[in-house]
Structures are given as structure tokens and as C-alpha cells.
Amino acid sequence: MDLVVLVAFSSWLAPALASAGDKDKDNDSAFNYDYESLRIGGLVFAVVLFLMGIALIVTRKCTCSKSDKSRSREPNVESGVPRA
């Protein structure tokens, strides 16, 4: 879980840093911001996050169906307990 958060965070930062780097390289005028690479970086960031979310949902199906099963099995097991 922590790993996922870390990855999310770093992927979030990466384009930000990249575009920040771009800014220093291309233009140091504060009035001419490189919006083009910012846009691309931002979109990459959005897509990466989105895909990670989807991946999470897809993996959820395996892990959660397991945990779901164990949860839903509980009452059944109990109901199946013979009456002494």
C-alpha cells in the first residue's frame, strides 16, 4: 500500500520536476512560462494516475473477491453450524 502511494507521489512529482527543469533551461524570464511542456507533463501525470487507479480496481477484483468471500462466508459457516 505504502509503495503504491510512493509511486503515485513520485509519478506526480516527476513531470512537475521535469517541467520545472525545462523552465530553467529554456527561459529564465518569469513572464514567459513554458506552458506547452507544462501541459504535456500535466497530462502525462493525469493519464498515469488514471491508469494506476484502473490498475488498482482491476487488482482489487482478485484481492477483494478473496476477502469478500471470506467475509461473506462467515455468516454461512455460522448458519451451517449444527445445533447441538
Partner: protein, 986 residues
């Protein structure tokens, strides 16, 4: 009531009078009349039946013999209900106000801002889409309901003009002479005129699991109890009977119950009440804010029309646009989850009702019990043995080695007319269908289970003669050849009412040896009989004798009509007792209900002793059930009734009629309880309808009961109710969290507008961005809270008090609006001021700048550094601020969704196991980034790309929210009942 009146359609009478009338007991009197009188009354003949002409005439007069289906609501009415019910009203009001505001603007300004128009359109769209969604959701469950309907047309055998004809049951009229045989469904209410071993299964009407004998004699004043009336839609189990139809269609006992049911008014569901309460609070807050700022605006010198626009703007900004969809989706998710666990919910709102339930009135037969007689105890060798009554044969077994047991099993197997229906060898014995009487079937299954095939036993011991059971001699006997081919004696076996059997016995079998019956043994027998009877069980005695060969040589002609053989001086073998045992899962489920603070009341049509025995079996820990007879219920005053319902934890109502069940439910509701009723029979349907939530049985339930119910247990398992309660309580808690989460972002959405009015700064957040939050980024996290696990054992706490524990209370509003929301607004304004400052507008210059800022003709507005800004340039900065404010709200909502996961526990205790929630976090951030960075957004939604640093402006506030709420929850846990809990626990 005159029967003539009764039969003619009651068109003139008012509906209310009808209902009162229906609540009274059945007005049938024919059972007390002689057959001739009945014939005269219906102008019919006991041999010939009705003439065809008369029948046709009666059919026109009375109408077809079918139940009028309950009035169905047209589909468009259902759709409108979804569109305009509950929460939607709030959004509609908002939409109308928006259009109004736009109209005012359009009339007064040359170039009106389109915001209000867009907002109005979006609100309308949201309501319509959500309405369609829930409409289709409910249509889906009602489609499943449709599939339950029994489509097979019933046939009836009538005698008209002396000829037997098979006709459609709908064409049966009063006065018809009809014949029924085992396996038939009785086509109308009939007065029995002759019967041969006829038994009917009245369980759907009265709840008795044992088939009842039918005979021509009147045995009881109450038409429901007397033997000479058989009722519409009950089943004839065995034997044949002939009878005169006395009532048809809606005038039958069954029809009256169905009409009573469909006529009952039901109140609002608890969750609908909660949402209404919530709307009141929200409206209150919105109107308060609106009016306050309206007055302020007037004082500040705005024009009257401008102030009205502000007023409307503020009120509409308070409407949580996304909440309707969130609540609907949360309820749908829970409904789906419940359907997976075999609880089918007909009405979305009923999902939560079981969670609020404080009393469950349960029918006994078929719900708590297995609805099949099973041998529970035996008495032989002067000792009571317990048989296994569980469904899966996992219970304790008894000593099968005794010789007496073998003899007992032989008698029970041979003196028994029940047999398994063919082609079921692969099924487990208990699941097989049996042709025959319920108690004989019980014996058959018991013997088959413990001694092997009964058929082989019967083949070895060929039956020579038989006297079937009848009510005068109260025994059944048969004579068989013995297993040993060299033994030419005949074996006589007999079973029947224990005292009658004992009278015929002079010896008793003990440890396989015949011993003379002495007083001591007789007393032992009496004690055993009393004990088993006291358990509510039906006891049968068994005896046998080997007939002496010299008197009854091989080939002796046994005459069963004029009994020419010995029927006394027999040898007593033992007793067997039967009961309809509770289902295996029931005691456990009832125990769980009680620990969840839910009172379980058993309401049954059965006899008090049986009812009490089942109550004991179902709840072994507390055997002090208060048993109330249905007929006593009539004499109780309202106060006495309230007293009983309030002061007894365990109540059993026995021999109750459908009308009395209704009274019991009404009594519980009068005491403020939220009542769930479970049942399967027609007799339960009025109570099912009246209850806050009616739960019908999917397999055994009758159509009428399923129609009246709000929820259906597809597996007929009472334990599923516990699941329902659990899910209902969980969704109530989770809805609170969802609402708390959704409402919080309202404050950072309103405050920009308020400051815009009061201190005249450029607008920090626009309508479009607000909609992006409410209908975009906030949606998935809000819905994901429905997947949140319970914080503590929700089945160990008391049911919520509907007057005190509200879905939304002032504490929730105070947390969401007053505390977390304020921090969020701070975060948003911080990024707003940062961006403006970076562009040259320091906060000090902003106050009061609005008029110039928004003025198209000012194209040289100077900032703090003296730079000049054109209108378009200014607007780009403003919309970048909107985007940054929007992103800031997303950032602070991260923390908000995490703190909303729990109401008491720390997040560290709860964990982050809810993957949907994590998905929600990713998704909302991705959406925010997409909206900000996607090319074209500056034109489409006026959203501009943000510099990465601006994303971090709100981070400290997000962190602050998290810490603030963790500390609050820590204090709350440390000081239970303390100030923090009283003021902030929602």
C-alpha cells in the same frame, strides 16, 4: 351482515367503511347451517349441482372467481415519483431559482453571464439522470417480482346438471357443487357436504403446518376452525371431498385478506424521513446564509435586483448537486450486495430500513421452522430418546441397538401408508417428496434414515389387511406376514393416539422382552406422554402382536369392516413424537438479533403449546416467553397491549388471525418501534404491508405475501435477515460519512462568492469549477465511502432511535461546515492569493478592486507593481485562480475523505483497505490534472494550466485537516461521553 349484500359488488359503500369491514373477522355462517339450508340459499341441488343457466346467471352477477389484482401504479407515475421524490425536490428548487436568476439578469443586463443558466440546466440534468437511474434500478427488481407470479390457470371439477365437468376455476360460481381430491387446490370457499379422509393444508391461511381433517360436521363456531369449510387457494393434501361453493373471488376469506392488504396505507421509510430532515437542515442553512447576505448586500449599497441575484446564488450554491446521485448509488450498491446474499429489495429505500429495525415480528411456520413434521423424540425401554431434527442430520443420535427400537421401527414402518414418490433415489432422504400425511411422512423418513429402506421392509412383510385412521377409533392398524417364511403367524401392528393404544395393551416391550403392563409402567408412560405433549409435539403410540397361529392360520380372511380378529391384549412398543423443528440457522440468527438489541416477537397461527416449544427451541437461553392467545388479544385494552409489548422481551402470539397480526404490528409501531415482519402465508400479508419493512419468503411464500412485502429472502433463510440488518446499519453509517464528505466542500465553494460580494475581490471560484467539484472530483470518493467497513461490531449495539439518532444532525453540519469546511476555504484562498500575488496583485490591492476588474472598458488596470492589465489578461489570471482554487479543494478533499472514513476510530486503526477509496483519490486527482492541463480547456471550461508549485499551496491545509480531525477523534475516544463527543460526534 346479509349474505346477499355481501355478494353483490359493494359499489356504494365508501372505501373506509370497506377497510373497517375487512378488519373484522370472517362473516361466514354457512358452516352452522344444514346442507339443505345451504342448498336452498344458493338455489342448488346436492346431487345435480347448479343448472348451466343458473351458473351463467350467477357468473354474471358475481363476476369471475378470481382475486382482483391490486391496482398497479402506471409506469409514468412511478417515474415521476423518482423524479420529484425526496431529495430531487431540493435540486428542482435550485434549478428553478437558477432560471429565475438568469431571467432577471437577462431582463436587466445587456450581456448577462450564462452561469446561472448553465447551473440550472446541469441541475435539471442531474435530477433527470438520477431519476432515470433509480427508476430502472427499481424496474429491474419489479421484473424479478413479476417472475414469481403463478401463471398456470387453475382447473376445477364441478357438477352441473348432474354431470361432472372440468372447468376453469375462474368460472366457478357460488352454489356450484364441486369435487376435490388429494393434490388439488381448492377453487373457492366451500362448505363440505361429504368427505373421505380429506385433509387440507391450511398453512398459508392459518399457519398450521399440520394438514387438517375436513368432514361435513360443524365442529366450531369460528369458520376458520370448523371442519366443514375448506378455503380458496388452500391445498387438499389427501382424500376426496365434495362441497358447495359459498364464496368466490374477492369475497372468499383469502380474497378479503388480499383486499385488506392492498388497501393498507404505508408510511414513509425511515431513510426517506431522514432525507427529509436533512433537506430541512440544508434549506435552513441556505436560506439563513442567503438572507443574511441579501441584507448585507443591500446595506453595502448593491441594487435591489443585484441583491436578489446574490440571494439566489447563495441558496443554490448550498445545494449539494452530487449528493442525490451519491445517495442513490450508495443505496444501489448495498441493494446489490444484499441481493448477492439472497435478500432481494423491491424498493431502494427499504435497504436501510432493516438496519433501523427495533422489532421483528416473525411468523413461525416456514420462516422459523422447516415447515415439515419431523420425529423429535421417542419413548421406549422406559426412556425418552432424542431424535435428530436438524436439516443436515448433524445432530446427536440415539442408541439404535435396542431390540425394542427395532420393533418400534418395524411397527412405524409397516403401519404407515406414506411412500416416497418415484425417481428421487439420488436425493438425500430428507429432501425427497412423500405422498401421504405429514406425520406418516415424518415417520417414514425417520425409519428410512435409521433402518434403511422401508420399501424392502414392506416387501418382506406383505400387507394382508388394513384399517386406515379415522377420527372415531383414533388408530390405524394393519396385518402383515412375518419376515420368516417358516413362521406362519401374522403380525398385527397398530398406531394411534397414545391413550387409546395403551388401553388395548396388556404387556409392554422392555429391552426386547414382553412384560406385563403394571401400574408403575403405566405411570411412566403417562409421564413420558405428558412431557412430550408439553413440548408441543404430536405424540403417537405404537403396539404390535403376533397373532396365534391356531386361531388365525395362513390364509385367514381378515375382515376390516366387521373386525373378526383380535384388536386388544396387544404389546405396547413405544411412543414417537413429532414436531415441525426450527431451522438450523434460526437460533443463531435470533441470538444475533437480540444482541443487536432487536426484539423478536413470534406471531403464529399455531397452538400456544407448539408455539411456545418452538420459541424455546429457537431461543434456548431465555425460555420465559410470554404466550398470548389470539382470542385474548381481542379483550386487551390498548394500554394492556402496550404494556405487554413494552415489558416483555420475549413474546409469542399464538392462534392469531391475519387481522390480529395487523393489530400487533400497529401496536409496536404505536410504541415508536420500527417493525419488520417476516412471513410467507397469505395470512401474513396485511402485516407485511403495514410493517415498516415486510420480508417475504422467496421459495415458500405465497404470491400475495410477496406482493405485499418490501424485501424477499430468496433462500427462505431467516438468517439472511441478520445480514440485512447488518448491511442496513452499515449503509446508514456510511451514508453519514458520504454526506459529511460531500457537504464539507460546500464551504470552500460558497465563501468565494460571499467574499466577492462583501469585500469586492475578483471572484475566486466560478460556477463551472464548483460543478466540476460537485459532479466530478467529489463523486467517486463520496461513493467509495459506501464500501467502508464497519468501525466496530455494529451488531452489538442497540438499534438507532429514530427520534434521536438522525442521519444528518447539527453536529455533522458543524464539523463539515464549521470546522473542516473552514480550513478548506482557507486553503483555497491561500492559493488564490498566492497566484494573484505572483502575478503582481498583492492582497492589499485586491479589496475593492472588483468594479474595475470586471469592467470591460478598463484596459489599463494597475497592479501593486504598476503593471497595466487589459480586461482579457485579467480574466485569464482570474480563471487561473479559479482552477487553482479548484485544485486546492481537490487537495484538501483528499484529507477530508480520509478523515471521513471513520467517525470515532483513527485512520490508523481503520486502515486503508478500501481500494475503491484509493481509486477515488487517484481518479479525482487525475481528473483535476486533466481539467487543468488538457488543451482546449481554456476555451471549453475556462480552466488554465497551473504551475506545479501552485498545487502545493493547499498541502499544509490538507495536513492540518488530517491532524485536526485525528486529534478530535483521539479526544473523543479518550473521554467517552465527554464534551468533544457531545459536540462533535455525528
Amino acid at each position: 351482515m346479509g349474505d346477499k349484500d355481501d355478494r353483490s359488488p359493494k359499489k356504494k359503500k365508501g372505501a373506509t367503511k370497506d377497510m373497517d369491514d375487512l378488519k373484522k373477522e370472517v362473516p361466514i355462517t354457512e358452516h352452522k347451517m344444514s346442507v339443505e339450508e345451504v342448498c336452498r340459499k344458493f338455489q342448488t341441488d346436492i346431487v345435480q349441482g347448479l343448472t348451466n343457466a343458473k351458473a351463467a346467471e350467477f357468473l354474471i352477477r358475481d363476476g369471475p372467481n378470481a382475486l382482483t389484482p391490486p391496482p398497479t401504479t402506471p409506469e409514468w407515475v412511478k417515474f415521476c415519483r423518482q423524479l420529484f421524490g425526496g431529495f430531487s425536490i431540493l435540486l428542482w428548487t435550485g434549478a428553478i431559482l437558477c432560471f429565475l436568476a438568469y431571467a432577471i439578469q437577462a431582463a436587466t443586463e445587456d450581456d448577462p453571464a450564462g452561469d446561472n443558466l448553465y447551473l440550472g440546466i446541469v441541475l435539471t440534468a442531474v435530477v433527470i439522470i438520477t431519476g432515470c437511474f433509480s427508476y430502472f434500478q427499481e424496474a429491474k427488481s419489479s421484473k424479478i417480482m413479476e417472475s414469481f407470479k403463478n401463471m398456470v390457470p387453475q382447473q376445477a371439477l364441478v357438477i352441473r346438471e348432474g354431470e361432472k365437468v372440468q372447468i376453469n376455476a375462474e368460472e366457478v360460481v357460488a352454489g356450484d357443487l364441486i369435487e376435490v381430491k388429494g393434490g388439488d387446490r381448492i377453487p373457492a370457499d366451500i362448505r363440505v357436504v361429504s368427505a373421505h379422509g380429506c385433509k387440507v393444508d391450511n398453512s398459508s391461511l392459518t399457519g398450521e403446518s399440520e394438514p387438517q381433517n375436513r368432514s361435513p360436521d360443524c365442529t366450531h363456531d369460528n369458520p376458520l376452525e370448523t371442519r366443514n369449510i375448506a378455503f380458496f387457494s388452500t391445498n387438499c393434501v389427501e382424500g376426496t371431498a365434495r362441497g358447495l361453493v359459498i364464496c368466490t373471488g374477492d369475497r372468499t376469506v383469502m380474497g378479503r385478506i388480499a383486499t385488506l392488504t392492498s388497501g393498507l396505507e404505508t408510511g414513509k421509510t425511515p431513510i426517506a424521513k431522514e432525507i427529509e430532515h436533512f433537506i430541512h437542515i440544508i434549506t435552513g442553512v441556505a436560506v439563513f446564509l442567503g438572507v443574511t447576505f441579501f441584507i448585507l448586500a443591500i446595506i453595502l449599497g448593491y441594487s435591489w435586483l443585484e441583491a436578489v441575484i446574490f440571494l439566489i446564488g447563495i441558496i443554490v450554491a448550498n445545494v449539494p448537486e452530487g449528493l442525490l446521485a451519491t445517495v442513490t448509488v450508495c443505496l444501489t450498491l448495498t441493494a446489490k450486495r444484499m441481493a448477492k446474499k439472497n435478500c432481494l429489495v423491491k424498493n431502494l429505500e427499504a435497504v436501510e430500513t432493516l438496519g433501523s429495525t427495533s422489532t421483528i415480528c416473525s411468523d413461525k411456520t416456514g420462516t422459523l421452522t422447516q415447515n415439515r413434521m419431523t420425529v423429535a423424540h421417542m419413548w421406549f425401554d422406559n426412556q425418552i430418546h432424542e431424535a435428530d431434527t436438524t436439516e443436515d442430520q448433524s445432530g446427536a443420535s440415539f442408541d439404535k441397538s435396542s431390540v425394542t427400537w427395532l420393533s418400534l421401527a418395524r411397527v412405524a414402518g409397516l403401519c404407515n401408508r406414506a411412500q416416497f414418490k418415484g425417481g428421487q433415489d439420488s436425493l438425500p432422504i430428507l429432501k425427497r417428496d412423500v405422498a401421504g400425511d405429514a406425520s406418516e411422512s415424518a415417520l417414514l423418513k425417520c425409519i428410512e434414515l435409521s433402518c434403511g429402506s422401508v420399501r424392502v421392509m414392506r416387501d418382506k412383510n406383505k400387507k394382508v389387511a388394513e384399517i386406515p385412521f379415522n377420527s372415531t377409533n383414533k388408530y390405524q392398524l394393519s396385518v402383515h406376514e412375518t419376515e420368516d417364511p417358516n413362521d406362519n403367524r401374522y403380525l398385527l401392528v397398530m398406531k394411534g393416539a397414545p391413550e387409546r393404544i395403551l388401553d388395548r395393551c396388556t404387556t409392554i416391550l422392555l429391552q426386547g422382552k414382553e412384560q406385563p403392563m403394571d401400574e408403575e409402567l403405566k405411570e411412566a408412560f403417562q409421564n413420558a406422554y405428558m412431557e412430550l405433549g408439553g413440548l408441543g409435539e404430536r405424540v403417537l403410540g405404537f403396539c404390535h402382536v403376533l397373532l396365534p397361529e391356531d386361531q388365525y392360520p395362513k390364509g385367514f380372511a381378515f375382515d376390516t369392516d366387521d373386525v373378526n380378529f383380535q384388536t386388544d391384549n396387544l404389546c405396547f412398543v413405544g411412543l414417537m413424537s413429532m414436531i415441525d423443528p426450527p431451522r438450523a440457522a434460526v437460533p443463531d440468527a435470533v441470538g444475533k438479533c437480540r444482541s443487536a438489541g432487536i426484539k423478536v416477537i413470534m406471531v403464529t397461527g399455531d397452538h400456544p403449546i407448539t408455539a411456545k416449544a418452538i420459541a424455546k427451541g429457537v431461543n434456548p437461553r431465555d425460555a420465559k416467553a410470554c404466550v398470548i392467545h389470539g382470542t385474548d388479544l381481542k379483550d386487551l385494552s390498548q394500554d394492556q397491549m402496550d404494556d405487554i409489548l413494552r415489558n416483555h422481551t420475549e413474546i409469542v402470539f399464538a392462534r392469531t388471525s391475519p387481522q390480529q397480526k395487523l393489530i400487533i404490528v400497529e401496536g409496536c409501531q404505536r410504541l415508536g418501534a420500527i417493525v419488520a415482519v417476516t412471513g410467507d402465508g397469505v395470512n401474513d400479508s396485511p402485516a407485511l404491508k403495514k410493517a415498516d419493512i415486510g420480508v417475504a419468503m422467496g421459495i415458500s411464500g405465497s404470491d400475495v405475501s410477496k406482493q405485499a412485502a418490501d424485501m424477499i429472502l430468496l433462500d427462505d433463510n431467516f438468517a439472511s435477515i441478520v445480514t440485512g440488518v447488518e448491511e442496513g446499519r452499515l449503509i446508514f453509517d456510511n451514508l453519514k460519512k458520504s454526506i459529511a464528505y460531500t457537504l464539507t466542500s460546500n464551504i470552500p465553494e460558497i465563501t468565494p462568492f460571499l467574499l466577492f460580494i462583501i469585500v469586492n475581490i475578483p471572484l475566486p471560484l466560478g460556477t463551472i469549477t464548483i460543478l466540476c467539484i460537485d459532479l466530478g472530483t467529489d463523486m467517486v470518493p463520496a461513493i467509495s465511502l459506501a464500501y467502508e467497513m464497519a468501525e466496530s461490531d455494529i451488531m452489538k449495539r442497540q438499534p438507532r432511535n429514530p427520534t434521536r439518532d438522525k442521519l444528518v444532525n447539527e453536529r455533522l453540519i458543524s464539523i463539515a461546515y464549521g470546522q473542516i469546511g473552514m480550513i478548506q476555504a482557507l486553503g483555497g484562498f491561500f492559493s488564490y492569493f498566492v497566484i494573484l500575488a505572483e502575478n503582481g496583485f498583492l492582497p492589499s490591492i485586491l479589496v475593492g478592486i472588483r468594479l474595475n476588474w470586471d469592467n470591460r472598458s478598463v484596459n489599463d488596470l494597475e497592479d501593486s507593481y504598476g503593471q497595466q492589465w487589459t480586461y482579457e489578461q485579467r480574466k485569464i489570471v482570474e480563471f487561473t485562480c479559479h482552477t487553482a482554487f479548484f485544485v486546492s479543494i481537490v487537495v484538501v478533499q483528499w484529507a477530508d475523505v480520509i478523515i471521513c472514513k471513520t467517525r470515532r476510530n483513527s485512520v490508523f486503526q481503520q486502515g486503508m483497505k478500501n481500494k475503491i477509496l484509493i481509486f477515488g483519490l487517484f481518479e479525482e486527482t487525475a481528473l483535476a490534472a486533466f481539467l487543468s492541463y488538457c488543451p482546449g480547456m481554456d476555451v471549453a471550461l475556462r480552466m488554465y494550466p497551473l504551475k506545479p508549485t501552485w498545487w502545493f499551496c493547499a498541502f499544509p491545509y490538507s495536513f492540518l485537516i488530517f491532524v485536526y480531525d485525528e486529534v478530535r477523534k483521539l479526544l473523543l475516544r479518550r473521554n467517552p461521553g465527554g464534551w468533544v463527543e457531545k459536540e462533535t460526534y455525528y
